[in-house]
Symmetry: C2
Subunit: 337 residues, 2 copies
DNA sequence: TCCTGGCACTCCGTGGTCTTAAGTGCTAAT
DNA sequence: ATTAGCACTTAAGACCACGGAGTGCCAGGA
């Protein structure tokens, strides 16, 4: 049904349409690509492709443009991820070297991705649930306030203030800190609740109130922050890519962290690329956009995802190459430090 | 030169243009506002206003629109800040109550401002330099790594990892922690460098390397983070307000933190409003925008600024009211907790 | 059986002309 | 100092004609 030449035609249509942003006709196609056949033949193939829903024409007597289904086929079978150029590789290194903490790594990554792909970049913070406790610190802030700082092996820090305590004793805090670290250090965050379950009961009476308060805040910070943090960059690029209509909706969707996280999708293997095209993604406002995302992490463990969102009419091979390269590089940095 | 009626005409022009987004002509003006004179008279006043540069016409035979200078006069002399409605006040309270830490306060504030003004909101994190040290914590992360956490009275937390140390001893860290807190607790961040100047020299030989490393990182974190953190929200609103052209430039400018901070301007008294109109602000891409900003802080001390950016053609009284109200409310929250 | 050249048809975009509506500036009268 | 009246300007919309790009289809050729 779809012989090789039809596929070649589809590929050519996608490539031309992506670069010119105009419906592509049979004649132009025959000229620009060496398909070895006449425009008339191409036209015949086109009607076949159109019947199968891979391409469409905006109106009679216009050229064809790929449909979501067409892009899907292109991505799955007709294209290969384009490796980055040397200059681009160097750009990644210079851009990301010298980042001191996790915040800065994430911030730079988002800029880098946006610049590399000239699209909107999204980077998710490494997930809490996939990491383990490095250290829990308690800091007395005053007679009835204590600050809890949770540090994970991925370098992430969560802080909370516990308020309305009565009579916080320096020694009580010291005791609790020790007990807490003994119980949780090295534990996966998932396992922390179980690990601290009976600490409150075991605590000496004078520490009981403090212990209970701190534990409840600790547990809360584990659950609540499951709504994870995401950073966005390169929105200015939206304006470039003929996004005049519906831009409002896109911007709106991009402001919702929940949406962004769902867009990045379920975590797969690190550096495995996911592409979601047009209406495949679940949000109204993003009907005209595609998302290319990849996981990153430490070693073979996926901690979070990153990606870009651009128009369905995007340079998939190039974008996929950039996303994959950045994900890999970040993973190597995280593993290294 | 500018009698009362001419001012009234200017005010009417600004108000009409802001609400309709179309050049306003003499006839419409005479109908919609009860100025008590005929269109012809208004026309005469208009040429006077135009000669003085307060209004302009896009082309012959079009209505007039205010110039930057016209808006400036309007803001300075012809308008009063509009207090919020009861519903809006309630919205502020419900929106901001229940924020647990500084991050959340800032995040919610930015959303609130964007929603209230239907424009782009900017909120700056409370400045480091205006606060004092609450506590410095050191956490050994491994044989040659230590994490430093700096906590300020405004609830802000800065963390840094110090790497490539050799042979970190638990007791050394304990000693340094104690010394450090003794020297810095309660100090203004500005004064910290002086306060720790000779700690390294005084340290026992075995702690010297550690002390020096930690101090250098501490000082660095004070200086470097002077490029302060800013949060942005409501960019989707850009699309609504006829910003089709130049939107690219605006988005680009808004992505640069440095730009945002400079836009917010120098800190004045808390809750003092600053308005920067059109070409008054220093950035090319923001020629068509105005910025309304105010300081906020604890008591009468300004810790940071917040504001909104919208088209020069904006509802100044309403926007100013919202910005002022939010700034005050945040200040009261910060002072209270 | 598959490819190709030719041809009639469709539709969009462009540019021209015309008309209308809104608004101005000027002048003369109040 | 204000107003009414009038001639003038301009943008925006409607309409039309036309050229170009592209299509679908058919008949002839490898």
């Amino acid at each position: 049904m779809l012989d090789d030449r039809k596929l070649a035609v589809l590929r050519a249509i996608v490539e031309d349409y992506v670069s010119t942003n105009e419906p592509v006709g049979s004649k132009a196609l025959a000229e620009r690509h060496s398909l070895g056949v006449s425009p008339a033949t191409i036209r015949n193939d086109m009607v076949a492709l159109e019947e199968d829903g891979y391409i469409a024409q905006p109106h009679t007597s216009a050229g064809r443009i790929p449909t979501d289904k067409g892009y899907r086929l292109f991505v799955d079978r007709l294209s290969t991820v384009k490796p980055l150029s040397g200059a681009e590789r160097r750009a990644i290194e210079t851009f990301l070297s010298g980042a001191v903490d996790l915040d800065e790594i994430v911030a730079r990554t988002v800029r880098l991705l946006a610049q590399l792909t000239r699209q909107v970049a999204i980077v998710q913070y490494p997930s809490l649930t996939r990491s383990y406790v490095q250290h829990v610190e308690l800091v007395p802030l005053g007679p009835n306030r204590v600050m809890m700082v949770l540090i994970t092996n991925t370098g992430r820090v969560e802080q909370r203030v516990i308020d309305h305590l009565e009579g916080v004793a320096e020694e009580g805090v010291d005791r609790l800190r020790q007990v807490l670290n003994q119980a949780t250090a090295g534990q996966w965050l998932n396992d922390v609740p179980a690990a601290v379950a009976d600490l409150a009961a075991q605590a000496p009476p004078e520490d009981r109130q403090l212990t209970a308060s701190v534990l409840s805040v600790l547990l809360e910070s584990l659950v609540e922050r499951h709504e994870e943090k995401v950073v966005l960059g390169g929105t200015a690029n939206l304006a470039r890519m003929g996004f005049t209509a519906g831009l409002r909706d896109v911007l709106e969707a991009l402001e919702e962290n929940v949406v962004l996280i769902r867009l990045l999708g379920e975590a797969g293997d690190p550096s495995m690329l996911t592409v979601s095209i047009g209406a495949e993604n679940p949000y109204e406002g993003l009907r005209g956009t595609s998302i290319v995302s990849a996981g990153y992490g430490m070693g073979d463990q996926t901690l979070a995802k990153l990606g870009v969102v651009g128009p369905t009419r995007m340079d998939y091979p190039g974008t996929m190459g950039a996303v994959r390269a950045v994900a890999r590089y970040i993973s190597s940095i995280l593993a290294g430090q």
